[in-house]
Symmetry: C2
Subunit: 569 residues, 2 copies
Amino acid sequence: MAPLHRCVPALRQIKAANFAFNRAAIARTAPRAVFAGQRRFESSKNEPTTSATSEPHQPHPDTGAKGPEAPSRKIKYTSESYPDLKRDPKFAELTTEHVQWFKDLLGNESAILDGVSKDASEDIEPYNADWMRKYKGHTKLVVKPGSTDEVSKILKYCNDNMLAVVPQGGNTGLVGGSVPVFDEIVVNLARMNQIRSFDDVSGILVADAGVILEVADNYLAERKHIFPLDLGAKGSCQIGGNVATNAGGLRLLRYGSMHGNVLGIEAVLPDGTIVNNLSKLRKDNTGYDIKQLFIGAEGTIGMITAISILCPQRSQATNVAYFGLESFEKVQQAFSEAKGMLGEILSAFELMDGRSQNLYKSASGNSLPLESEHPFYCLIETSGSNSDHDQEKLESFLEHVMGEEIVSDGVVAQDQTQFKELWGCREGVPEHLGHWGGVYKYDLSIPINEMYSLVEETRARMEKAGLIGDTDDYPVVDVVGYGHMGDANLHLNVPTRRYDKAVEKELEPFVYEWVAKRSGSISAEHGLGIAKAPFIGYSRDETMIKLMRQIKDLYDPKGIMNPYKFLSG
Amino acid sequence: MAPLHRCVPALRQIKAANFAFNRAAIARTAPRAVFAGQRRFESSKNEPTTSATSEPHQPHPDTGAKGPEAPSRKIKYTSESYPDLKRDPKFAELTTEHVQWFKDLLGNESAILDGVSKDASEDIEPYNADWMRKYKGHTKLVVKPGSTDEVSKILKYCNDNMLAVVPQGGNTGLVGGSVPVFDEIVVNLARMNQIRSFDDVSGILVADAGVILEVADNYLAERKHIFPLDLGAKGSCQIGGNVATNAGGLRLLRYGSMHGNVLGIEAVLPDGTIVNNLSKLRKDNTGYDIKQLFIGAEGTIGMITAISILCPQRSQATNVAYFGLESFEKVQQAFSEAKGMLGEILSAFELMDGRSQNLYKSASGNSLPLESEHPFYCLIETSGSNSDHDQEKLESFLEHVMGEEIVSDGVVAQDQTQFKELWGCREGVPEHLGHWGGVYKYDLSIPINEMYSLVEETRARMEKAGLIGDTDDYPVVDVVGYGHMGDANLHLNVPTRRYDKAVEKELEPFVYEWVAKRSGSISAEHGLGIAKAPFIGYSRDETMIKLMRQIKDLYDPKGIMNPYKFLSG
């Protein structure tokens, strides 16, 4: 293996150094956190499957700090985990007549999974439960429309008959938003999987909501373009779901959010109205931008059936560097310098604290890229149209930040294998933090200058409470922070050896209150779903929540769309 | 003056050539189209002033094809130009009691322009009329709140008393949206002009709505950042107005739209509710993205009082090239190649057809950068963090497109003066097309591959109708197209010698129908205001218009906000 390119401080030079990797390469696009013993459903093309995401390992605090359950173990029903949630009696119970109506509409068995008129519970389970095996509903009907018109007829029928509905894409969410709680009908969009058009001059892609993200990205790659979103679940998640949940992921720093990139949406309202806002225009100032409401609405005001999205030209060159820093102030300085000197080619700036890297090292058995230890590490990725230029910029940047003693030490990947292995030090963290038992995890947006203080304060709380230590006497292994520095998106993680109510008491509501005090977000990129719904008040004031409820009431007056979630907390 | 760097075909080399400029430099940031004889109001700091914009020259088709009126000539009242518009009797007439209430609230004379209790019509005129001198209202009261709380009290009072309101920023709009039609009270935000905070690590700026765009950009420039929007009116327009009108401008190709860049909004609803959505977070998935409704709402559902916006690092290097091409297909090819080879540094790709350049040459007396004539010209700008790299990329690109015979000839600016002069060939077009009398102008979004066909078809119509020719016998001088190729934003322009109803008959509804057939937008970046309100049906279907009206009714049930415009057509 080629040695990593190493930056030596003081010399202001980039010299090759002999640095050996002793661990297996972790493919960047492979599922990032499939655990031993974790059940994976057998998947056929376009069926929803379990899948890994960039932040996959989230044993629910309420259900104990154990790792993912073994396949043999039954998934607990959400209705049991959340005993305060009651089925809303306003919704009708599913009858054989209802099922017959759906069968008449969809016309073939493959479009229906029916647990009412025959025993199909085995087939239905993957649609009832999320991939984390954390949430499970009681649905007896899954329907798979093949067209927008069918979606329209289905929603209108459900609305007229007071049948609750859960829109479902790839079912890869992290907050339980895409599975039923009780007997809501699952409307799964897997069959709507066609790319409708692509214009390689404008870069505008129009595609059905059920197209798998990776399929879309591969289609674009062949045409020298890139989908402006990437995340670990790309092999399973659907682009409609990505838009419905306003997915963030790995390319946001460079390409921006769905709100900027999505140019149009085709959606169906609960009353069956088809909203044709599938614009292929980059600019259109003719009225309110209604489609924006559907981005991040998590299927609560309608179902997205197609999207139009602006896709950038694909970069021809990528580089990655990994370095150590002595303080969070220096991390911020390095980020500022990276924005200035790498500017237009900076495509990722990820943060990992020293503790997260040490735990990764100890759990994975891998060594770290740098021999020296540092309280902070960062991973920088560049992508651009000219490899030589990008390397030169990256080297100038590294020389500068090392000369100025902002960065203490660093390495640059010299080939694709090293590229993936450096990324592994960031992407392997969530998986390996589960090594000791379970992890309390928070996905937070915090103003960048205060971002790391939360980790320090949380650790101090655990120390003061005598909960943290190196032996089995202590429930808490460590308190670590990592995440998307470029987006001020912190993943606060508390790996534990066992479930302990005292730990939970130290964490909540402390973390939410801390974030609220700084006007942060209690859900940066994962959404509300069922998991975060009760906590929205920490991020939104009463006026905002009132305005949101107005929107919900306006579009879904009967409340059939994805009930018990989002604003219902 | 240094010669332009010239690309010579076949040689695949960039060689310096002796190319002389014989015209005065046109400063890029200077007002782009101030006409001789056009009245400019004397401005004091933060008072609204007339100002030029990137597309300023729009004699109303209804009012004849003459150039801008002389200062001595009175501006026609909008109520006369649009005789079908009637004052809505549901609105109260302003009384001295009302005026007293405002005086008691705002506490000083400087915050009020009052034409009711004293004769202040002279002072009020700049607030009643737009800078183009095309729209004029009858307001008798202008109020200038100094805080969000004052805006809240004002709107609540107006809502309670059925007083109609026009929110006003820099009053630089092109569709009459920021001036009253009848006696609506003008709420001008010029006094709310403070920058609230800037974080140079995250690049997030929080500022009052009344901050002048150029002031914000200069503030950011000192901190190595850039406002992600630029337009000709930057010296007068306010950032709140930019967001309220979803301004497009010159940096959209590179930095994207307001919907992606605006992170938060503080707004006041008609009932006085203060919406505090002034997030400083790049990621926040906690509910519907309500703020998006205010972006481009043109002040019809509330008043934006502050914004939070993501500002990129400022590029250290800029380059500009100008070249000739033989067909619109080649223009599209060049755009694709530019996206691929210039990728992350491409910051503008502007289109000018040969006819627009010839008219520019003939009206301005300037020669064009290329000696040879071509049916199409493009202007490319790059901006990046490394000047050498950018120049190398640009030269590789030019060698490639010339070697492949996509581009026939081209020049690259070698210094700042040439940079500005090449831009002048694009930016001077709108001004100089008015040379023969007046111009019929359309600001359209069209799928990029069909973008130029409209110009050809419109010209064919004029030829067939015998309206176009080189002598005074013909009303139409030419039919030309130019615009933001990168955004598929075409400015269709028909310079004329005189007003002729036959010309208008050939243009409308033909142009709108042509655009509607291709699902284009009849207002790409200028908005609806009063000018485009009647034509929204060409770009939006009934369902979309219904959904928009629902939003209007939800937020402004009494309809006091900016009436007679937007959706009222």
